[in-house]
Symmetry: C3
Subunit: 137 residues, 3 copies
């Protein structure tokens, strides 16, 4: 059995931003030497989500527009009474899905034709990390 | 350590449809010979979700009604400017939860009394696959 | 390879309640002897969610307020025609995210600075269980 732990570091240019990370996850798998197993991709920050969906900018803006409509950033939240302004960011990350676990088959991410892994940042412009944990053989 | 990879193939009769797949996942586990471990169940298509909830048709229609109310299929989405009409399907799958990882204990799915695994198809009537990855011993 | 299965038992005081379970998950990992691996934390009941977010009571009330606004408990649901009154609980658990898989590194939960694991109960005041499955080496 083999495992590998990596932390992808990034700082987004915008407060709300979307970054494709498929290739970086693939690189960690390659370095792990695991041929069959699982890879967990988990943002270690709680105002961000790792999701799998389409690499299509129009869809990405649709996601952000829907989140803002359902849970407006500037509405009244008790969390923001603590001095933060990011309550909606915490909520958006739950609605979008938090994290993914993907399969490794024949030493590669076992992806469908359109599956791409993205980091959705909802409170960026500062140093963040994404945990990539590989387990298998 | 043992692993097994299977792809469940299906084509739903309706564009939006819900299919119980618990038994098919159980069958893959049985074939894997794994007694203790994890199983990832991941739709490899990005307009579908694999979820765990109740095998109750009324609840299933409630889910679909809520999704349509929160994110109407026929609203205006930038993704649909690409020639697609399924932007809402991509968004619904994120709200419902994308994928599940379940435990294998004593060679079986370790389920609570009402846990059943479902494939929620939001853009069906064409050939789709669900990845089942077993890892354990 | 090592695995360990534990079931955390709890009964919440309130019908809708939030319980921090990070330490209990950590304890299971310690008992497992696993140094590198994954831990699945899955509520075996389908009106509850296990999520990772902030240990901040204001945010917790924000989550509940948003869920009630988007999917009102007392609205009309077909599931409630079966004699239940908890259709919204089933839907809330999907919107919040159902379950988490976390990494184990150096024998401990590999958490970011603010990551805490919570059990969100949406239909409590009765005996419930949370499955904790550890796999690794």
């Amino acid at each position: 059995m083999k495992t590998k732990t990596a932390y992808l570091a990034l700082t987004t240019a915008k407060k709300v931003d979307i970054v494709r990370i498929t290739d970086k996850v693939e690189q960690v798998i390659k370095e792990s030497g695991v041929k069959e197993g699982l890879v967990l991709v988990n943002p270690v920050h709680i105002t961000a989500a790792v999701i799998v969906n389409d690499n299509e900018p129009g869809l990405h803006s649709d996601y952000l527009k829907v989140l803002e409509r359902l849970v407006p950033y500037s509405a009244d939240y008790r969390h923001n009474d603590t001095g933060e302004d990011n309550a909606a960011s915490h909520i958006w990350r739950q609605l979008m899905g938090h994290q993914v676990t993907m399969a490794i088959t024949d030493g590669k991410l076992d992806l469908g034709p359109w599956e791409q892994i993205f980091y959705f940042e909802f409170d960026g412009q500062r140093s963040k990390r994404i945990l990539v944990k590989v387990i298998g053989e």
